[in-house]
């Protein structure tokens, strides 16, 4: 720890990029479009501005890597501009190994992200992991790595952040991942700790005199909006961000007058709201890779939530400790997700980006854009869909010819490629998009640019000897035009790969699903920005969302079937492996 802090202190002189958000159109609540703009210090790179139009998405990592992607896929994948790294897996070593990375942009370089293309943010915890954890303390957060639970203090976190120099850092947050329900006292403590830990990260950086001409370098800090399932707790937390500080507190964060002045954006981690924390013993199965919580409550539909108890209050108390007999008024209400987010955002300035992690469906994304005005979503659900063999297939806005199927069933949002019906299906992964190979100048159907639908030949294969040029020359002369798209990978092929446990299936599906998510959000931006009048834009957008809800199945039943199939195939294999020493690959 001491070493990491030392290195952090040494590197404070290097500057953080400037992060801005421009709200082009939109209000406090309702659909909005804007731009996230990251400007690296001009001496860094020729291409030093990264511009992300919102609404958009970020992709999370597992142990520092985008699941199922090799580095070349991360670079070529469509729409990946913001990658979030959760630091906790690196706590297996002390000091954490990434802190040994020398040079500028250590986080980018350690993990191989492209600083001219990727905004890389750093959070302590994986925002999608809502398993039960030992309680946080007044001065530590419990984080999880493969060697067990680690206590991370705000000072540790500040040091890691200063050392790793992420483009954006998430302040520590006191989110209880212990058995619900949580008392008012617990919520109050959570709010106070979260604010104090934010303040710690916002303390000015020392030793910044290497560039007197530029403004003081500042960390770009996102804060998780604390308050759990209580609207009043959420409101209280937001107020604590905007209230003018005095005395020691003010001194600590000088020149900031209030915490919110130092906050670059607001994040909402829905994982803790979606599920009752699962016991820690539940193994985090990344290799097979899916954790759709069994008891996932349907938050896809904000209306239905109003009638259901919120997850955190749904648990049956096994013991009645005094803390549970707190004023019921605080707990008995079952506010909707909508109300919770509004309670947090209401007291806060309109023009800061809002990030939501652990959304579960395109429907939920669209509603959060329509009703709240969320700017960034994490792509975790699309990756999880890829884990369980689902190729997403939806488009927004829904084209007019895309009406209900003849039997008036809603369309599935994707294809469960485990299903035997795909064994002989030699078309590309989606109906909503064309494969690059099949595009025509007359068709209005957009092309899915992903590595599965629109693969392209490598333009410069590695040559291992001087005569290898004959292999490559001769091949391109044989009529294979290297500029053209190759035929798409088919559902039949993916079906085969899934049933033979070939990892390539998941690589192709992540590429595809991320591209479909990217297209969804591109469609959203086009609709919202297509109308100068804000009220008109909101109305038209709302109409398109309704249409989307009418056409596509919002219960996501295809994901549930796929998960069952995925389990069957996985367990069949494990049983087989247990019975026989033969691998499928004996040679």
């Amino acid at each position: 720890m001491a070493q990491a802090q030392l290195e952090g202190a040494q590197r404070v002189g290097s500057r953080f990029p400037k992060f801005t958000f421009i709200l082009d159109q939109g209000k406090q609540f309702g659909p909005r479009v804007g731009r996230l703009c990251l400007t690296r210090p001009s001496n860094c790179l020729p291409n030093h501005v990264i511009d992300i139009r919102t609404p958009n998405f970020l992709i999370g990592t597992s142990r520092g890597v985008v699941p199922h992607f090799s580095r070349d896929h991360v670079h070529s994948a469509n729409g990946i501009s913001w990658i979030n790294v959760s630091f906790e897996s690196f706590l297996e070593q002390t000091p954490p190994v990434p802190t040994y990375q020398a040079g500028s942009q250590p986080l980018h370089n350690f993990l191989g992200f492209d600083s001219s293309k990727h905004i890389v943010s750093l959070s302590l915890r994986d925002p999608l992991d809502a398993r039960e954890m030992p309680p946080n303390g007044n001065s530590h957060v419990s984080a999880l790595c493969m060697r067990g639970v680690r206590k991370v203090t705000p000072a540790d976190w500040r040091s890691y952040v200063l050392t790793m120099q992420p483009d954006i850092a998430f302040a520590l947050s006191d989110t209880p991942f212990t058995a619900a329900p949580h008392s008012q006292k617990r919520l109050t403590k959570s709010i106070e700790r979260s604010a104090a830990w934010l303040a710690d990260l916002l303390r000015p950086l020392e030793n910044t005199d290497d560039s007197p001409t530029e403004s003081t370098p500042t960390l770009n800090v996102f804060v998780h909006m604390a308050g759990g399932t209580s609207t009043s707790a959420r409101r209280a937390f937001s107020h604590s961000l905007t209230e003018t500080l005095h005395g020691l507190e003010a001194n600590a964060v000088k020149p900031l007058r209030c915490l919110d002045e130092g906050v670059a954006g607001y994040s909402f981690d829905l994982a803790a709201l979606h599920v009752r924390p699962a016991p820690l013993s539940t193994h985090h199965d990344r290799g097979g890779g899916i954790e759709i919580a069994e008891n996932s409550l349907s938050l896809q539909n904000s209306e239905s939530l109003a009638q259901t108890p919120t997850p955190n209050t749904a648990g049956t108390p096994t013991s009645l400790s005094s803390s549970m007999i707190e004023p019921l008024s605080f707990l008995s209400l079952a506010p909707t997700l909508d109300e919770l987010l509004r309670a947090s955002l209401d007291p806060l300035p309109v023009a800061k980006p809002r990030l939501v992690t652990d959304v579960r469906s395109p429907h939920e994304i669209l509603r959060l854009i329509r009703d709240i005005g969320v700017d960034v979503f994490d792509a975790g659900w699309a990756v999880k869909a890829a884990d369980i063999g689902v190729a997403l297939d939806f488009i927004f806005p829904v084209p007019s010819e895309h009406d209900n199927s003849p039997d008036h069933r809603k369309r599935d949002i994707g294809h469960n490629l485990y299903d035997a019906k795909y064994a002989h299906d030699f078309v590309s992964l989606t109906d909503a998009f064309l494969a690059g190979h099949n595009r025509t100048s007359s068709s209005k159907t957009p092309v899915c640019p992903c590595a599965a639908c629109s693969p392209v030949s490598s333009t410069s294969p590695i040559q291992h000897s001087k005569v290898d040029v004959q292999s490559h020359q001769a091949h391109s002369d044989d009529g294979t035009n290297r500029e053209q798209f190759l035929p798409p990978f088919t559902r039949a092929y993916l079906h085969h790969l899934l049933h033979t446990h070939e990892m390539s299936a998941h690589t192709l599906l992540v590429a595809h699903n991320v591209a479909v998510l990217d297209a969804l959000l591109t469609g959203v931006r086009t609709i919202i920005s297509g109308h100068a009048d804000q009220n008109e834009a909101a109305a038209i957008f709302a109409r398109e969302v309704t249409r989307f809800e009418e056409v596509y199945d919002g219960t996501m039943s295809v994901l549930h079937t796929a998960r069952d199939n995925w389990k069957d195939v996985k367990y069949a294999r494990e049983n087989k492996d247990a019975r026989s020493v033969h691998s499928t690959e004996v040679q």
Binding site: R71, H424, K466, T490, A492, E502, M503, Q587
Partner: protein, 414 residues
């Protein structure tokens, strides 16, 4: 197939050849990665192609089970099915049938085995193997041979060899009448176990059929036999096989084995080893295998090999990052698979250049010194290379290592 020898080593039997098949040119000698079930573990075909790989292998036994011939026919063959535009080779399915099936009973008609689907007795005949391989559509297809373990002794070895010759005739006949000879090329497989006399008989018979076969494989080895026996059989076969046909050594994948085989006159080899070992966290390097699970790599900011052109090393991916993800994240397997395939290709590409530039003996000496210099040379490699005029021990003072001499990094308790 157009096959042309474009350079020969002045000392050893090594040679560089140009093999043109329906899906392009492959320069030999080469190593063929194995895409057992129509995918190289975790990679896309475009990635594999970008690594400079122009010939891969699919396993007939597996593809026949899944996706099955009907699907492959509908797809228009395995190239289309898996999106691979380069050359492809399939085995006959016989080897896996014997090693993976619950029971296999070899009769003159074919191999009788229990169907993995319903347990029913099922027959794979030479004709069927060829017609399945026609559905798959690989550029190179293999005869069905009567496979016995290389450790088998007694009359069964001779019987299997003679039957393999008779089955070759049936495969040839099936292939000749298929009308696919312009696109697909049938290879014979030399059998005869570890018995030089049987190998000679088999070579006599199969060389006689040269006009009907496009190339020859050396089968029945790499099954745990003594390495000194292994190389002698390879040498015996490579010496006698016609020089205007490619020679394929089946199941060979360790770098030292590959280079010895190349020196003895082998053009092609395949093995699952580089891709499988990647999934267990092992990177192959010119200084020997590197087990990235070992604690010593935890904080290493070095790439696996800074001179390696693979995307993993070229991106600067450190051993520390690899240590963090191998055997846990699929991306860890991808990163090492890519590297190991490039390593194999570099070993063989380096051999091609060295042969072309008349410095193959020096290439062998420097490879072995880098790879084994810290531990000593496997005696069998020294013996094998002496048989073709290269003395590894010349000017070096290193111990000889008995047995296979395979280098390995064993795991630690970390």
């Amino acid at each position: 197939m157009q096959f042309e020898v474009i350079a020969k080593c002045h000392t050893t039997r090594a040679r560089v050849c140009r093999m043109k098949l329906a899906h392009g040119v492959t320069m030999l000698p080469t190593f063929m990665p194995v895409a057992t079930q129509a995918a190289i573990k975790g990679l896309t075909p475009q990635q594999v192609e970008s690594l400079g790989i122009t010939l891969i292998l699919n396993n007939t036994y597996h593809l026949n089970l899944r996706p099955g011939i009907k699907v492959l026919d509908e797809a228009g063959g395995a190239h289309n099915f898996q999106g691979w535009n380069r050359n492809l080779l399939t085995d006959s399915g016989g080897f896996q049938l014997v090693s993976l099936s619950k029971f296999t009973d070899i009769t003159e008609d074919g191999a009788l085995f229990a169907s993995p689907f319903n347990g029913e007795p099922t027959m794979l005949t030479p004709e069927e193997s060829i017609s399945i391989q026609h559905s798959i559509g690989a550029d190179i297809i293999m005869q069905l041979d009567d496979v016995v373990s290389s450790l088998t002794v007694g009359p069964r070895v001779g019987e299997a060899m003679h039957r393999s010759v008779r089955w070759l005739d049936r495969c040839i006949e099936q292939h000749e009448k298929s009308g696919r000879k312009d696109k697909q090329n049938l290879f014979a497989i030399v059998q005869g176990g570890l018995d030089p006399a049987l190998r000679d008989l088999c070579l006599d018979a199969m060389i006689e059929r040269k006009d009907q076969v496009a190339g020859y494989a050396i089968g029945g080895l790499s099954g745990g036999e003594e390495k000194d026996v292994f190389w002698k059989i390879i040498k015996q076969c490579a010496d006698r096989l016609p020089s205007d046909r490619p020679r394929y050594s089946m199941g060979v994948g360790f770098a030292e084995d590959l280079l010895v085989c190349v020196a003895l006159g082998v053009d092609m080899a395949d093995c699952v080893f580089p891709t499988r070992t990647a999934r267990f966290g092992v990177a192959l390097t010119f200084k020997g295998p590197l087990n990235l699970k070992l604690g010593k790599h935890t904080k290493s900011m070095e790439p696996i090999d800074k001179n390696c052109p693979c995307p993993t090393c070229a991106s600067g991916m450190s051993r520390a990052v690899l240590h963090h993800i191998v055997t846990i994240e699929t991306a860890g397997a991808h990163a090492l698979t890519v590297h190991n395939l490039v390593f194999q290709a570099q070993v063989m590409g380096g051999a091609r250049d060295a042969i072309l530039e008349a410095r193959f003996p020096e290439y062998l000496r420097s490879f072995f010194f880098d790879y084994f210099g810290d531990a000593g040379y496997p005696e069998w490699c020294v013996n094998a290379l002496r048989s073709v005029g290269v003395d590894l021990m010349q000017g070096v003072d290193l111990p000889l290592v008995q047995g296979s001499g395979v280098k390995w990094e064993y795991s630690d308790a970390a």
